[in-house]
Amino acid sequence: MIKKFILVFIISIFFTACNSVHETKNVIRFWAMGSEAENISKIIPVFEKENPDIKIKVQQVPWTAAQEKLITAFASDNMPDMCQLGNTWIPQFVSLNAIEDLSEFINKSNEIKPDKFFKGIWETNIIDNKVYGIPWYVDTRVMFYRKDIFENAGFTQPPKNWDELYNLCRKIKQHNERNESYPIFIPTNEWSNFIIYGLQSGAELLKENNTKGNFSSKGFKEAFSYLIKFHKEKLTPFGMMQVTNVYQAMADGYISIYISGPWNIPEFKNWMKGDLADKWTTAAMPGYRNEYPGLSLAGGSSLVLFRSSKHKKEVWKFIEFLSRPDVQLKFYSTTNNLPSVIKSWENKLLTENVYMKAFYEQLQNVSPMPKIPEWEQIVFSKLQQYAEFAAREKMTVDEALKNLDKDADKILEKRRWLENKKRRKNDR
């Protein structure tokens, strides 16, 4: 019996050992997220035909847990050759020293030149003058809204600035007083709204070389109070708990405005059929005062090359392939992810799509966020927390922002120490 057990044990170890054996012969291991992974597999055969000596092995990583999984993979020295990274994640992997500076490759390349991409998006990939990623697809946040509800409230145009947006929401609220509905949806558990409006009002989010929180500054405070006002006046539900399904809420007229990204388009199309099909559309973000469109987030995913890769040249070839306008268009048509290469936007697939105009306009005016590894923790766990406290009036705006700064400073303590150490070294 024991022999059997031991046998099983040995077999199992062998089994697991097999699992971690990597193939080495020009096979590129590529991690992609969610539906991107499913759809890229349809394009890969084209590349493999053009480059018969390279094979691409795609592995799907779920979005919801992607970041934890990627860092776990790093911690376990189990990195792929290349990966799709949300561009706010790049700083973390740079600080882990996990991804390769691509400047050399770019200098020699004909396919990839900085000016072929949207400026704000390209910048998200630069840290200390080094380029760590090539934009694969882009996203930014725009306004999704119900045209019919706007018209009923007497607005034929989407709002162009903060005041217009606020007045519009009040009007809609007055119009729909009888039933329970809200003009806009600004969930406190999505930090993006708060950052977008903060960027619009010209706030510097962090100070002292990104080592201290600067949320109590005049600019950010103005943006934060502006959004909290919508909560206090019951112009928006609090968060995802009330609205389990945004698309349904929009279709029911429970909400009329939702600020979000391009991945929603197919869902909205799906939920608003028949009569509702022409009742919604997209518009660029309203500006702070007079500028239009207002700033929005430079989002999207970049392709990065891991330092541990043994196939850097091949990976670069594949990145160049994915940056070709025709390949970008093909990827757009299968995944709805917006092309990062400007030239692709001249195609009628995009120019004739009514929802795309807003995105194209918006992409001219996007801005990156602070590029430090702690950023995600600050916005996810702290900004959202204090936004919820302020929205539910458990804290005043001043208190919330003061606490946010305090927490941000605490999170950034190590960064300050490292910066000081670096400075001292340089002084010597």
């Binding site: 882990l96 708990m241 009330q242 389990t244 927390q385 919820e388 490292l418």
Partner: protein
């Protein structure tokens, strides 16, 4: 006993004890050491950035509002769910143990079903049962004219809702132990009480309760230890919200450790949890000693 055969005993013990020593005791000590450092994402990239920071993590914890929130939530959960679960299971055990009940095994089985099932799966089911618009709980309330309640979205109701689910999930386990305890009470005690003309309540108070005391203490300890480690229910049902009102200690530890990679800080949270469980257990042991000495 079979004579002194240390060699063979060692051989028998070695696999299990080695595994426990290497993969349990060493990590416990290591965690203790890590809790005095600022092990974080920078350290993961470059080990030389690790700093020994003494008690700073623990001191920070005392100043950390979120930690106190998580601690408060966890205590509230234990205080609500613990006694409720013990009460329900004792009640179920007593009626199930009654001689006149038919189909005992069947009832016992159905009460026990939630215990063995996967927590994540049933938490998902309960999430939909609590749904504000389509949930069954609200449907039943609507039959009595009560308008829809947002169980998991309302900051004051979210934790109690999770408590109810946890009691549903666990009471069967304690019930089985109580039944065993009840069956160990000698029948003669009740017969003697009958002769003295005691009523049911008197019998319960002066025989059942004292005789069940050791069982109850045991159950309180395991229930408390289990409930202090609350994690999957809020992870699946509320992600710690709304307003962090369902954030538990273990969830906070997980977030700090494996989402933000503040491993030093996370380790100190783990030790605080350990310390609390330790104190709780000691208190209950004392209570038991005190009661049995009387």
């Amino acid at each position: 006993m079979i004579g002194n055969k240390s060699g063979i005993a060692f051989f028998f013990l070695a696999p299990a004890l080695l595994a426990i020593a290497i993969f349990f005791f060493i990590p416990v000590i290591a965690a203790f050491l890590i809790s005095f450092t600022d092990f974080d994402i920078y350290t993961l990239g470059n080990f030389s950035t690790i700093r020994f920071i003494g008690l700073k993590n623990y001191l920070e914890l005392f100043k950390d509002d979120l930690f106190w929130t998580a601690l408060g939530n966890t205590f509230l959960f234990v205080i609500l769910a613990g006694p409720l679960s013990i009460f329900v299971s004792l009640y179920a055990a007593i009626i199930l143990n009654s001689k006149i009940v038919k189909l005992k095994a069947l009832f016992r089985l159905s009460y026990f079903m939630p215990v063995v099932t996967t927590l994540v799966a049933v938490a998902i089911v309960w999430r939909f049962i609590y749904h504000p618009n389509f949930g069954i709980v609200n449907y039943f309330l609507s039959l009595f004219g009560i308008s829809s309640v947002d169980w998991l979205g309302n900051p004051d109701l979210a934790l109690p809702s999770i408590v109810l689910m946890a009691v549903w999930k666990n009471f069967g386990y304690n019930m089985i132990i109580f039944i065993a305890g009840l069956q160990n009470i000698p029948e003669e005690l009740y017969e003697a009480a009958n002769i003295e003309g005691a009523n049911n309540w008197q019998k319960f108070k002066s025989i059942t309760i004292p005789m069940l005391m050791p069982t109850t203490i045991f159950i309180s300890i395991i229930t408390m230890i289990g409930y202090f480690q609350l994690f999957a229910e809020p992870y699946v049902m509320t992600q710690g919200g709304p307003l962090n009102r369902t954030l538990s200690i273990v969830q906070y530890m997980y977030q700090e450790g494996f989402r933000w990679w503040n491993m030093g800080y996370s380790a100190s949270i783990a030790f605080v949890l350990f310390f609390i469980i330790f104190i709780g257990t000691m208190i209950q042991f004392r209570v038991q000693k005190y009661l049995s000495s009387k």
